[in-house]
Amino acid sequence: MSGYVEMGKVIRNVQIGSDVWLIDVYALKQAAEAKVGQFCNVRVTNNSAPLLRRPISYAGFDAEKGTITLLYRVVGAGTELMTHLVAGDTLDCLGPLGEPFQTTPNMLLVGGGVGIAPMLCIASHLQEGEAAQVILGFRNESETFWADLFKDTSVKVHITTDDGSVGTQGFPTAIMPALLQENDFTSVMTCGPTPMMKGVATVAQEHGVPCQVSLEERMGCGTGGCLGCSCDGANNKRYKVCTDGPVFPAEEVFF
């Protein structure tokens, strides 16, 4: 499915962590059609540098207000330029792109780093008859702002930190087995660093719970044209992360 090129209007662009920002953009068509797990490809300047768009998962969308919400980590020149946007500026947004999460009645969401954004998206767009809990993995207590983002959702938040300064010490996989045993989760959804997602998918598989993973890959076009983001899948298949993904059943891309 194709996306729309929309000249979005920035509503707000605020820093929420040491290198993480939240931007709300008025982009009517995407706000109306986006689904959880899809992404937006933003062009941060009209000039030729930086040239390519930046793929960023939706952290939320509001069809009534006509807005989309993106959470982005400042990692290079493109995202640094994004931090200069202020209310009223224009942001060229291409989306919604990619295949969404297939939500189920009772979901365990596992997010690490900026991969928490699509988990927030699921948590804040639960449909009737859907429930979820979320495990957030951070380095230390300086990143608890991620947990605050879930305050307005109905999901229960579990935290793990590398140093144990908040929540349980360790990776999200440390607390997954207990949660999977205590609850009747119908699926596990995860997004974050690849080693974390592989660990999460392995634990889910051990417990017989289907797992969907959202892959992150460097993209050229985001629209299936350049094969910059292709990856190997099961049975010698090739997948384009941008159009076949970014969300895949774990067994298609990990095992």
Partner: protein, 315 residues
């Protein structure tokens, strides 16, 4: 009109029509190989039948390839480095399973072919000389395939031999895509002409690299990659200008075309048609936008046809 299905909704501007080597195109803009999938990936963004002059399909090889492992795209100032490595399903799979789905669009298709030997190039051309293919674009210049494409593209004698071998087995127009990574691109273009080639397209990407200083490693999985985008445009334009003076076969110009102005520059330097690639990665409807800007130029100068400007700077 649904934005999600733009096909057959736009009237082409007759003043932009060109005939390249017998291929009738509704405008001079060809989607460059490897940047436009095989076309249908973009049907929701652009009217393939009326807004695109032609499509050069994703580069094909005798057998299917997964391409290069590791990071395959990196951005550099005003440019993109890629080392995709000719990922494709193989020529026969393309003809049997992909091409039938492309034929419903009223747009000429160029089969972009790469191979590892002169005989394989001939086999590719023969395999792809089928209904639905308007021309063969012989890629002797992919920088991302070890010891293969590039070795062919840098030696005039080999280029002539490949061109002859392909010419012999097909009735379709043969266009040879040239590498800029050579000492004298005019000599290579002359070799295509001597070998019976109908046209040349230039330039393929410039071999480059980028380094991650924190990891102390090349950014690309394949170490080197092909540079495209606005950064290469002046080099590409100069080469088109030189080749125009050296050969009598028509030229397809490409390299960093982002706007109608860029495309018109290439035509004035001597290109009869152009290709747009990296621009599509930035805007999926770039070809449509560029065609409109070219039409505006035609109106502004009251030209009968965009072809009036081909080689204008040489006059």
């Amino acid at each position: 009109m649904s934005e999600r299905d733009l096909n057959n909704t736009v009237m082409p501007n007759p003043k932009l029509a060109v005939n390249y080597c017998g291929i009738a195109m509704k405008n001079p803009i060809i989607a460059a190989s490897g940047t436009f999938g095989n076309g249908p990936e973009y049907k929701g963004y652009i009217d393939l039948s009326n807004e695109v002059g032609a499509i050069s399909v994703k580069g094909l090889t005798p057998k299917g390839r997964h391409g290069n492992p590791g990071t395959r795209i990196a951005e550099t100032p005003s440019g993109v480095l890629n080392c995709i490595g000719l990922e494709n399903p193989g020529a026969e799979h393309f003809v049997g399973h992909v091409l039938p789905g492309l034929m419903k669009y009223d747009v000429p298709l160029l089969a972009n072919v790469s191979a590892g030997s002169v005989a394989e190039f001939a086999w590719m051309a023969e395999t792809l000389s089928v209904d639905g293919i308007a021309g063969i674009e012989v890629n002797v210049s992919c920088p991302n395939v070890e010891c293969e494409g590039m070795a062919f593209g840098v030696d005039p004698k080999v280029v002539e031999e490949v061109t002859k071998a392909v010419r012999k087995v097909t009735n379709k127009p043969v266009i040879v895509k040239l590498s800029p990574n050579v000492t004298d691109i005019v000599e290579i273009a002359k070799a295509v002409e001597a070998g019976g080639g109908n046209g040349v397209s230039l330039i393929n990407t410039l071999l480059g690299m980028a380094i991650d200083i924190h990891r102390r490693k090349p950014l690309l999985g394949n170490t080197y990659g092909g540079l495209s985008g606005p950064a290469v445009k002046p080099v590409a334009l100069r080469m088109v200008h030189q080749v125009y003076k050296g050969v009598n076969i028509p030229i397809i110009g490409l390299g960093g075309i982002m706007t109608g102005t860029d495309a018109i520059e290439f035509m004035m330097a001597g290109a009869s048609a152009v290709q747009v690639g990296t621009a599509t990665m930035v805007n999926p409807n770039a070809i449509s936008t560029i065609a409109k800007q070219m039409a505006d130029y035609v109106e502004q100068y009251n030209l009968n046809s965009i072809t009036d400007i081909v080689g204008a700077v040489h006059q």
